[in-house]
């Protein structure tokens, strides 16, 4: 503390030093006077006494210097001097200063922004105790490597494994909440009891689910989120024991989860309610075969490795296959490290972007180094004079470093401002599924990162010109009068420009390939006309649940008619099962004439769409042959299906599919194919063509088996084609639906355009960022080449003047300057091209981002080289023009 106080006083001493110096002079004066008085009293002459006093004092000035050094901080004063001098130098050349700081701010800002995203997503461990022990658990099947786990298998896996401390499952679902104002759709998670304890979550109030409370047939319980508690109950503690009506059933509230908890297996997004898995009202829950979208999470026992756990779980599932040879055929437990599962989709993308943004910083630094080099050439005279006057190398080095650090720290500060804005932009662009986007912010780590790169950049590009300055011969420089410049120095600049151009080209290639991929993707035929199509969820009034099939069908017909009558609606269809790019569902079948397969795995698979007659028009799919489902294809009519052309080709080859019969797994009697329609892109623009499961089969909703018909009421999709924009259309539909019954809910409206755009979100994100980085790099590189060529012109003013005096054409001069710039740019482009080819080959993760083009796509390569050369020429144009304006007479006169 005392030391700090002294430091503070000394810092203050730096400033008010004038009056303090006067005061000390007075003190010394009185000291000497007293000493002299004593001497005189002892019998010395006044002069002798004074001499003695001075000797004992060790010199007046020395005493003052010693005092002043204690008063202030000598090293700080030198620094302060350097800073003031540096500031003067920077202010004297505002153009240089502004360009340098802006360059750095761009480079550092882009890096900081992306780093804060990378830091939040990849570097921060998951917010759970011992995240390295966590794994997600899936069932691998012949068709899915990470398929869903059936409830009976989960129970057996839970009981039989020896390596897991706990295993839990979860499934996302929705509930219609009634009895608390308007009916509302709630996001909910069905979980088994260990789900929370595995993640180390503690309730805010109340309790978690006890063991066995998650079993089928137990009392309906619910845990609510803190947000829900606040919204619906004003955070009142008496909420425990209250009852929520969900889908018409009463659930007792037992606890409240903290707001910070927002996990669903494989992504982070908040839920309102958590309900024991045993309350899942799907009759197939206890079916060992049923794939119900249930996935697991587990914690390894301490000391157990991932491989041991995976082996153990394989053993468990192989044993089950022996016991249940039909249902569990080919089913194996599959573990994935949790941390990896959460980031695997975005990791390569972010790393590539981080590399790209690092290039941008490199280019920025090279720019500054180049600018400083040019300046140090101009200042060679100044340094030579200062050395001649006795300034040591260390002193000059310190001066130069102070200047460059001032630049880089100012740049870093501005960059931080840019980054706080840029981070928001990146987060806005980010694909939805990015883990923990909400937790991304400017942290201490990020600030440290910015400070580090600012300091590193400042030191590096500050040192480079220093080396140059020290290498030059003092005497030569003084003699030359600062005019000449060694060719070595210029060649260093040329190399820097070539390097910049090459780096920029690499970034341009990356951005160009991404842009071309997206262009290719946007040309893909989706198989339907997405524009004007709106999808949303509809859940019937809870009082409808459990109605007779007749009442259910009557309800569906009425709801359909109401929506169809809403203003602007051109076509409407309910949909259950698969919906393109949103959800998928499979139909198992065998063809007429084939023997009935022994197991489900031996059957054929197709994507299943359960729709109504309006679907074809609502989606805008083309009819190729026969007819689509009609309203006459109802519960009394013979069973019919419509297939897509992929189905037709795959299972009927060249034969006419109309009139052919297929046996659907859930029915005894066969269904007749009545029509063929165009293939619809189920898996998204980029993935559909490569998915093994592409054949599509359409069935009429009215022909659903009665048991499944009841499930439709608990939540189905609605597809509408509307003349109006999405908001207006949804509003009028919502009115129509609520008018019919205020207890039913419509939710989650989304346009097909947006759905399609979402499937490309990851690509678009990387395309936009890469393009932004490449654009920044291009801007910086053009500043770089502009600076060097301008300097070249200044250096060659005499030569040019003499040449012109000797009869050189202005056009020759113009061409000469452009050629110098062009040569540099071209050399850079060639080097960059080679580097880009090497890099795109090496990084397979980048190739995976491309679609429909090869990493060495010649068109892209030629295009970006063209762009680079064009920009380089534009950057050289101004100095070239300036060169042609040189007045030969002026030059010769000054010679």
């Amino acid at each position: 503390m005392r030391k700090l106080r002294a430091l503070w006083l000394r810092l203050r001493g730096l400033f008010g030093s004038e009056s303090a110096a006067k005061e000390f002079s007075a003190e010394l004066e009185s000291h000497i006077a007293m000493h002299v008085e004593d001497g005189v009293r002892a019998g010395l002459s006044t002069e002798e006494a004074r001499r003695q006093a001075m000797i004992r004092l060790g010199g007046l000035e020395q005493a003052k210097i010693a005092y002043r050094e204690r008063q202030g901080l000598p090293w700080f004063e030198t620094l302060w001097q350097d800073v003031r001098f540096g500031l003067r130098m920077l202010v004297k050349s505002p153009g240089f200063t502004v360009v340098a700081i802006a360059t750095l701010a761009l480079g550092i800002g882009a890096n900081t922004a992306l780093f804060s995203v990378v830091n939040g997503v990849l570097l921060n461990p998951l917010p759970y105790p011992h995240p390295e022990e966590l794994v997600t658990v899936h069932a691998s099947k012949p068709n899915f490597s990470e398929g869903s786990i059936s409830y009976p298998n989960f129970r057996d896996w839970q009981r039989d494994n020896k390596t897991l401390a706990a295993l839990a499952i979860a499934r996302h679902t929705g509930y219609s909440l009634t009895g608390m104002g308007d009916a509302e759709e709630m996001r909910a998670e069905l979980v088994s009891s260990d789900y929370f304890s595995i993640l180390g979550v503690k309730p805010v109030i109340g309790r978690l689910f006890a063991p066995h409370e998650d079993e089928i047939g137990r009392e309906p319980l619910v845990i609510i989120s803190q947000g829900f508690w606040q919204r619906k109950f004003g955070s009142r503690p008496d909420v425990l024991g209250k009852v929520l009506t969900l889908d018409g059933r009463n659930y007792t509230i037992v606890g409240v989860l903290p707001a910070s908890f927002n996990l669903r297996i494989n992504n982070f997004s908040a839920c309102d309610l958590y309900v024991p898995i045993g309350q899942f009202q799907n009759p197939a829950l206890n079916n060992r075969f049923a794939p119900l979208g249930i996935h697991g999470i587990a914690r390894l026992k301490p000391g157990v490795t991932f491989e041991q756990a995976q082996d153990d779980m394989l053993r468990v599932s192989e044993r089950l296959e022996k016991i249940y040879p039909e249902a569990d055929k080919g089913i194996r437990a599959k573990l994935v490290p949790f941390q990896y599962a959460m980031v695997r989709n975005v990791k390569p993308l972010l790393l590539i972007l981080m590399g790209a943004v690092g290039f941008v910083l490199l280019i920025a630094c090279v720019n500054i180094a180049n600018l400083l080099l040019v300046r140090s050439n101009a200042r060679a005279q100044e340094f030579a004079v200062r050395s001649a006057l006795g300034a040591g190398r260390a002193r000059l080095l310190r001066q130069l470093l102070t200047e460059s650090l001032m630049l880089s720290l100012t740049g870093g500060l501005l960059g931080l401002l840019l980054a706080s804005w840029g981070t928001q932009v990146i987060l806005h662009l980010l694909p939805q599924e990015l883990p923990r986007a909400a937790e991304i912010h400017m942290s201490g780590t990020v600030l440290g990162f910015t400070l580090l790169i600012s300091l590193t950049a400042g030191t590096l590009f500050g040192l480079l010109p220093c080396l140059k300055v020290f290498r030059q011969n003092l005497q030569d420089t003084l003699k030359e009068g600062g005019r000449g410049a060694g060719s070595a120095r210029r060649s260093a600049q040329n190399w820097l420009v070539v390097f910049q151009m090459a780096t920029t080209l690499v970034l341009l290639v990356g951005a160009g390939l991404m842009i071309r991929s997206l262009a290719k993707l946007s040309e893909i035929n989706t198989g339907f006309r997405p524009h004007g199509v709106l999808t949303f969820g509809l859940q019937a009034s809870p009082s409808m649940i459990g109605s007779s099939p007749e009442a259910t069908r009557a309800y569906l017909r009425e709801a359909n008619a109401r929506i169809a009558a809403a203003p602007g609606v051109e076509a409407v269809s309910f949909s259950w099962a698969a919906l393109p790019m949103q959800s998928d569902d499979e139909e198992l079948f065998w063809l007429d004439g084939e023997p009935k397969p022994q197991s489900q795995n031996a059957m054929h698979w197709a994507l299943r769409y359960i729709v109504e007659p309006g679907y074809l028009k609502a989606m805008g799919i083309s009819l190729l042959k026969g007819r689509f489902l009609a309203s006459s294809d109802d519960e009394h009519a013979p069973r019919v299906v419509v297939i897509d052309d992929v189905f037709a080709r795959k299972f009927f080859g060249n034969a006419d599919p109309i009139g052919k019969r297929v046996f659907l797994e859930q029915f005894d009697e066969p269904a007749t194919v009545v029509g063929v329609i165009g293939h619809v892109n189920q898996w998204g623009l980029d993935n559909d063509a490569v998915n093994p499961l592409r054949a599509e089969i359409y069935q009429a909703m009215m022909q659903l088996p009665e048991q499944q018909l009841g499930l439709v009421l608990m939540g189905m999709d609605v597809v509408v084609r509307s003349k109006y924009d999405a908001d207006t259309a949804f509003q009028s539909i919502r009115n129509a639906v609520v008018q019919m019954n205020h207890e039913q809910v419509v939710y989650n409206p989304e346009t097909m355009d947006a759905t399609i755009a979402d499937t490309l979100a990851g690509r678009r994100f990387s395309m936009i960022l890469l393009a932004a980085f490449a654009g920044t790099a291009l801007l910086l590189a053009s500043i770089g080449i502009y600076g060097v060529i301008s300097y070249l012109v200044v250096q060659h003013t005499r030569d040019i003047g003499v040449r012109m005096a000797l009869g050189a054409d202005r056009r020759d001069v113009f061409r000469w300057v452009l050629a110098r710039g062009g040569r540099l740019a071209f050399a850079g482009a060639v080097a960059g091209l080679l580097a880009a080819l090497g890099l795109t080959q090496l990084t397979t993760s980048f190739s995976s981002l491309l679609y429909g083009i090869r990493p060495y796509d010649p068109l892209t390569m030629l295009g970006v080289i063209g762009v680079l050369m064009a920009v380089a020429f534009v950057a050289c144009y101004l100095p070239a023009r300036r060169a042609t304006r040189i007045d030969p007479m002026q030059v010769l006169r000054t010679e």
Partner: protein
């Protein structure tokens, strides 16, 4: 003069504090003379080093200073011990006594043998 010892590194502050404790408020010259007298004129003090030492003690808050009038009616700056200074003096004095006691044991091994 030749047999006078220079002030050991780090001991000047202690001597100043002790002098101030003994003498009460006193000016720089008075401190210097008092230190020489107390040492029986065996110490040679460079007066020029005294003032930075006083400044340091003042910056650290162990002493304060104010202008006053000397016994000979001369304007002079008077230094005074603060409460913190008194504590610091106790601490430093104790440390010195310990240090010298240890050294003394080394220098007179006969005592140890007894």
């Amino acid at each position: 003069m030749a047999d006078k010892t220079d002030v050991w590194q780090g001991t000047l502050a202690l001597m100043v504090l002790k002098t101030l404790e003994a003498m009460g408020p006193i000016h720089g010259y008075g401190i210097a003379r008092r230190i020489e007298q107390t040492s029986g004129n065996l110490l040679s003090l460079n007066y020029g080093t005294l003032y930075p030492a006083l400044l340091k003690l003042e910056q650290e808050g162990y002493i304060t200073s104010e202008w006053g009038v000397s016994e000979n009616n001369r304007k002079a700056k008077f230094y005074k011990l603060t409460r913190a200074g008194r504590k610091q003096l106790e601490r430093e004095a104790r440390e010195w006594e310990q240090a010298t006691a240890i050294l003394a044991r080394f220098l007179s091994p006969a005592k140890e043998a007894q």
